[in-house]
Amino acid sequence: MEIKMNLISEDKINSMTSTEKLRFVLDGVKSGDIVVLEGGLTSEEQMKLIELTMTEVDDDFSGIEMSGYPSKKGFLNIRKKTRLTVIGPAKMMHTTKKDKDLISAIISAI
């Protein structure tokens, strides 16, 4: 069975509102895709994504697996620069190792 990955550029992500981003990600993941966001989601957006996911968990969709590099301190240490985030269906994706600059994940078909 094939697994589809959507690699989304930072430009595309930045053109969306937070709500659009979360809907876009969750719709992709619920259809069985692995979504990789260049530039990533902020921690606030990730928290909202968890909240949105929980409203849609049912017998067939158990939730998401999400991994991302932690954000970097930006200008004057005030604004944080987010980095890559990868999100997939919990039943298909399993993060095996993760640190500040490395994410290892096993992705398998259901």
Binding site: S43, M47, I50, E51, M54, S62, G63, E65, K98
Partner: protein
Amino acid sequence: MKSKRRWKSILTLLRRALSFRKGTAKIGIYGPPNAGKTTLTNRIIHTFVDENEDVGTATEVPHETRRAVRRAGVTIDLKAKSLENPNSDLNSESEVKPKRGKAKLKLDVVDTPGLATKIDFHEFMAYGLEEDEAKRRAKEATEGVIEAIKWLDDIDGIVLLMDSTEDPYTQTNIVIIGNMEARGIPIIIAANKVDLVDASPQRIANAFPQHSVIPISALKGENMLDLYEEMARRFR
């Protein structure tokens, strides 16, 4: 728009800085499922309120706590406790430590459901629950996660509990810490379950070097004095 949001965030930080010391702080006990949140909350209540009062039941089944529970009016008074019982380590079953605490803090403790990105009813069936019961529990657990997230809007500080035997570098932990930092809410990490042989609180300290990490055993009451002192220092 972004600049408006930044000003709002700065105003929130200022408001917190000015108001935090005036009233009773609402302190949330957060963490992943089975980290020991209810055990810690019960330990705090037993030590400073009533040794027979529980806010919830702790079991090995994940998501046992599916509603946030607020216990108002808890006073952490280390001086009074040390005078009351000078040879104890605040209910510790472990070795006696020299007393040094004089800190005092009034707070409401909020025991929250475990935060998770996935909830599969099959996991509950592995603990012997029937399918219907497992599905009902899973539904309640999803509502609990949402409730825990919503409580963050009303919290003045959090104790983020992590299991010292597990890899701390999970996305859920990172998301909680990132959110607290963005909101300017003080955070203490408690590295729980240090009574277990494979516990490694140092791994948690290495993963989050920018935060205070206090190794504890909420179950055995080990090192609780350090946690209470840090709470009194950070949350006053």
